[in-house]
């Protein structure tokens, strides 16, 4: 009974006039022209584009797997493989980067490079792959850029100074659903730097605002909110990022959909901190 059913389905499928059988399977084996930025090593120290032809690209590959295949081919030809960053390959670590056809993490919204699948490209496409471009993100090699500026911004204040001891019972600190959700939305930032890469001003405001918002919205983070906003913005400026002019390219390209509402919150936090907060130097001593 079951065999009959499957056969009928197959029969219908093959005879269906709406599905072209040959193009359906042609997708499996794409040919791509890859225009990739190469810098350092045997390539120009200031960088250059090198074009590679790649056959047998499956639509099921992720973009990084496609680059793995290219690198295997390059290694087998005794050529230098393309340097690119990757780690978790499931869209949560923020390690993968690169600008694909003018879009950080590729043309799809809400997707990291590792989760971008080759089915979104067509046979014969030319794909231009560049590193994230910002003065504060210098290129180390090929598609790898130095994003330590973000680490230094986090070190300046993107944390909660916790004393020793156990985490307290979750129910002991009431947090409303709305605030918890807003904080969580900001906490979804994976710190990949796509906002900087997308911003025509190479501004890091979306990243900083996500970190400031994530902590300032919760009771544990509120205590140091003003000091944090001042310190993180100061570090951001020292790193040489551009200034935000509310173009919102960051939100449009963010793989985690972080909203520019967070930038407005950072502005509020910073303005109120600048006018109503003064850090007192800790002179030590005290009771006991």
């Amino acid at each position: 009974m079951e065999i009959y059913f499957i056969n009928l389905k197959l029969f219908n499928f093959v005879n269906s006039s709406t599905i072209n059988f040959s193009t359906f399977f042609a997708m499996e084996n794409m040919h791509l022209k890859l225009k990739i930025w190469r810098q350092g090593g045997k390539f120009a120290p200031k960088g250059e584009f090198v074009t590679y032809e790649l056959d047998n690209v499956s639509e099921h590959m992720s973009f990084l797997e496609m680059l793995d295949v290219l690198n295997e081919k390059l290694i087998s030809q005794r050529e230098e493989p393309v340097a690119f960053e990757h780690d978790c390959r499931e869209g949560i670590c923020g390690t993968c980067s690169m600008v694909i056809n003018g879009h950080p993490h590729g043309p799809n919204a809400g997707t990291t490079t590792c989760q971008l699948h080759m089915r979104f490209f067509k046979d014969g496409d030319t794909v231009t792959i560049e590193p994230f471009r910002a003065k504060s993100f210098p290129v180390i090699k090929d598609l790898v850029v130095d994003r330590e500026a973000f680490d230094r911004i986090i070190q300046a204040g993107g944390f909660i100074s916790a004393s020793t001891g156990q985490a307290q019972d979750a129910n002991a600190i009431p947090v409303s659903k709305e605030l918890a959700s807003a904080s969580f939305d900001a906490a979804a930032c994976i710190g990949c730097g796509a906002c900087v890469a997308a911003c025509p001003n190479a501004s890091a405001m979306l990243f900083v605002s996500a970190k400031v918002s994530h902590l300032a919205l919760l009771p544990q983070g509120k205590v140091e909110a003003k000091r944090r906003a001042l310190a993180m913005v100061k570090q951001m400026d020292q790193e040489g990022f551009g200034n935000c002019s509310n173009i919102t390219a960051c939100e449009a390209e963010c793989p985690k959909g972080i909203s520019v509402e967070n930038i407005a919150r950072l502005n509020r936090e910073y303005i109120s901190a600048a006018f109503a907060f003064e850090e007192k130097e800790d002179k030590g001593g005290g009771a006991g």
Partner: protein, 264 residues
């Protein structure tokens, strides 16, 4: 820009210098001066509408006389000049700084935006430069000539006052000036399309309850106000060319309805 912090230090305001030289402080200055300039536009437009009144420039000249002699308006006008200077200088500095923050440009670059016009938003520097040139020309042509007294005098009810109406009419009869004026109004429309709502975002005013209204207001404002300004030279130029003359010799916007009724 630590010179500002150092200058303000003796009066105990080094923190304020630090704020003004931070990336957010710079933008707050742009937002506040920008909003002040935005608030000035409808007042300027209301005065300009007198230019279309068919009274030989009487009401326009009386309005100009009032604007140049009222003490409160004088104080506000100095704030306005300061705002223009600060907005322009800060804007140019930000433009230069932001352009250099990229380092190397992309070979392929597509700018997407959410809730604003990416083309206008990424060209605020160019649009602002057009506006600065226009404002300088505008102030040289009318404001400076008025201040220097290089305008004819007219007498209304025994009172002799400066006649700004005549040089304005001469300028508006020149097609080159009309084109410059209209192009500048298009530039201001695009500048405001992004700038109006952007100022509120910079000041931290972004909330799902009122931001949609601010964005709507900004779009309406950026179309209607520049359109209002642009209509006047087009009307005056058309008037000198006799474009608006229709049957019965009816002329002028104000008396046309009346004239047409009589004609019928």
């Amino acid at each position: 820009m630590s010179w500002l912090t150092n200058t303000l230090s003796p009066v105990g305001l080094s923190w304020f210098g630090g704020f003004l030289t931070s990336s957010i402080g710079k933008k707050v200055l742009m937002a506040l001066t920008g909003l002040f300039l935005i608030s000035f536009l409808p007042i300027h437009l209301l005065g300009n509408l007198y230019l279309m009144k068919d009274d030989g420039g009487r009401d326009f000249n009386l309005y100009a006389e009032f604007m140049t002699h009222n003490k409160i308006i004088k104080a506000v006008s100095y704030t306005l000049y300061l705002s223009i200077v600060l907005h322009a200088i800060q804007g140019l500095l930000l433009w230069r700084q932001n352009a250099s923050a990229r380092g190397q440009n992309y070979a392929v670059k597509v700018t997407r935006a959410v809730g604003t016009n990416a083309r206008a938003a990424t060209r605020m520097g160019w649009l602002g430069t057009i506006l600065l040139i226009f404002i300088l020309l505008h102030m040289y042509q009318f404001w400076l000539q008025m201040k220097l007294g290089n305008v004819p005098m007219s007498s209304y009810g025994g009172e002799v006052i400066k006649d700004l109406y005549t040089p304005v009419m001469v300028a508006f009869a020149d097609p080159i000036f009309v084109v410059i004026y209209v192009v500048s109004m298009i530039a201001i429309a695009f500048h405001l399309w992004h700038g109006f709502q952007s100022a509120f975002q910079t000041l931290g005013l972004n909330h799902s309850k009122y931001t949609p209204f601010i964005k709507f207001l900004g779009k309406a404002y950026s179309v209607l106000i520049p359109a209002g300004f642009a209509v006047i030279p087009i009307y005056v130029y058309g008037d000198t060319m006799g474009w608006w003359k229709i049957g019965c010799g009816c002329d002028g916007v104000w008396d046309r309805a009346e004239c047409m009724i009589e004609c019928i």
